[in-house]
Symmetry: C2
Subunit: 366 residues, 2 copies
Amino acid sequence: MAKNPQKIRIKDIAEMAGVSAGTVDRVLHGRGKVSPAALKAVEEVLNRVNYNPNIYLSSISIRKRIKIVFVTPHTQGSQYWQQIHEGFSKALNEYSVVDLTSEVYTYDQYDLYNCRTTYSKVLEAKPDAVVIGPTFKDETIRLTQTLDEEHIPYAYVDSMVEGTNPMAFYSAKQDSCGYLIAKLIRQTTPADSEYALFQAMRVGDESANNTIQRKIGFMEFFHQNRLGDKVHRLNFSPLDKAYNDKALADFFAAHPNVKGAAVLSSRGSIITDSLKRIGINHIKTICLDPTSDNVAAMMDGHLDFLVGQRPELQGFLAVETLLKNIICGGHPAVENYMPLDIITRENIDFYKEYVVQNSAVGGGGM
Amino acid sequence: MAKNPQKIRIKDIAEMAGVSAGTVDRVLHGRGKVSPAALKAVEEVLNRVNYNPNIYLSSISIRKRIKIVFVTPHTQGSQYWQQIHEGFSKALNEYSVVDLTSEVYTYDQYDLYNCRTTYSKVLEAKPDAVVIGPTFKDETIRLTQTLDEEHIPYAYVDSMVEGTNPMAFYSAKQDSCGYLIAKLIRQTTPADSEYALFQAMRVGDESANNTIQRKIGFMEFFHQNRLGDKVHRLNFSPLDKAYNDKALADFFAAHPNVKGAAVLSSRGSIITDSLKRIGINHIKTICLDPTSDNVAAMMDGHLDFLVGQRPELQGFLAVETLLKNIICGGHPAVENYMPLDIITRENIDFYKEYVVQNSAVGGGGM
DNA sequence: CTGTTAGCGCATTCAC
DNA sequence: GTGAATGCGCTAACAG
């Protein structure tokens, strides 16, 4: 029945506009050297028809080598950032028809000066495009100002820095994430429960701003439900097990009605491991990200929910967007929020494997 | 730092194997007419290197017009099947470089004879590839036998028919789905709750087999937890509101301890609408698929959870797999299970928009 | 059987 | 400023 709508080629546009293919190409890529009359004719046709340049076809004939630079916090010890980098790799692999070069720089997210040094290396590398996993706002604003001046496109993963002009950003809505966690923990505990909010004293794998946003969303839920006073906070150590065992034992002795616990980072398994050691069961626990520790804790029955933010997809889409823009032009959507996946023991297998998924077809965000 | 691993081209393989590009192409596509010696040399190189043919590049030089035929239950009134068909469209659009023709046939999933007639039209259409949304097992086996004989590749969406040899199938694990629903409904209700399992007397939008599988998984959870006697069943009408209002009122009068309700199809909003009319609140309700009715009921606060099965992604991947196989050859994974997305009011926005996602990069299934 | 070659859609380059 | 010619990776048709 349906015949596939005839693919529009550059040659077709040229014919319709009464010019040659070369001229259409010059218009499409804004390279100038086109007479006003020809420009107008071509633009008119472009407005009428729906021309979809194909990045794979474009890239075979492009002569330029494209250098893409990645700059994020260290991936060492952070599966979240490792997964974002896996998304980078998969995109580079997917678009290997393009003559691509890449360089990876990572910085210590607790060391402003290290970040500054690393950012300067990014500029020295003379990139054609940059993917940024930001932490320090002012440093990032400074970096992107230079990138803006040199017309080097950049995209963010994990979070967006206000006051900059990225080509696009890919992140989860952190306040929604916190709100969702609150809702889940509330829904899965008895009506008269109280709740624990455990915070790592020094979280190794995310920008502080994200955690703050999550906490805002988390508390918003409890305040909306007039349960603000049912939430008890406790700091824990990401490293010191003995300290945690003691602190948690004391905490639950002092708050016997606590039935649900939230960790607004990926460090939930540290809590559940500790609870297991000190023999406290039946506390519903929830945190972020299916890291291998969290997956193990979940299979073990000690973590009840995880919320995933598709780090790999973020990385993949950031690279894809930059490449498509450089090669084919066009203006992609700037704001792109990832789905917040609710993961339990029953559906975790799918999310372990099925991390990145087709964007070529997906809309995006809210 | 890292330079993109040099893309392997046919020319490179030819050089390494000491033959010409034409010979490599013949080996890759199994077109024969290659001497054993040359075959061996090429295969040896292929095993050593990682050659990724590019479908877009291949398809421009292919001269053949490819006809792909879709055969599924009627989409009228079923958003689930509509979304699968949207996945078809997106794939056709994504691969519009290929000279594609498509034909769509739908059948009445309650009418075996209609299905048989429709299947015969599929064969008459002389397709190069077929995507099947199956319902009747024996009819489908008969259809696929003919397809097998004529070496026409086919793929399933929604469910797989045992005893056939598809190129691939894309579906959700229905028993896992039922189990997950049971777990969710149990987790979000008090310990002493009882449960309702509502079944549409005549479900308009899915193969009966799927519902049976879901029920098996659902009951498995309750039996494992020795709660089999806490589940009470009731049939409802997909059309007759007055009947449902009466039946539900009677049901909840007879079972006052029921705090959670599951509908193992997409018809959950029919139940919540009825409950709203008869003034019964605070029953946790869960069903499948973010159809517009279900989304509305969820935003309204009456549906608590939805489980999504990515119908659009199923449709997209089925088409993509067939095209890649026809154009580039190769043997894709046959079994592909979709993630089961847990959807609540807090994350529904992402799933409404972000339906299909990059498969080129995703592994698949469990 | 095999190597060579034309041509696919596209971006670039080089004569006009 | 413009059109025609070239080359990209790949397939298919052709000549040996």
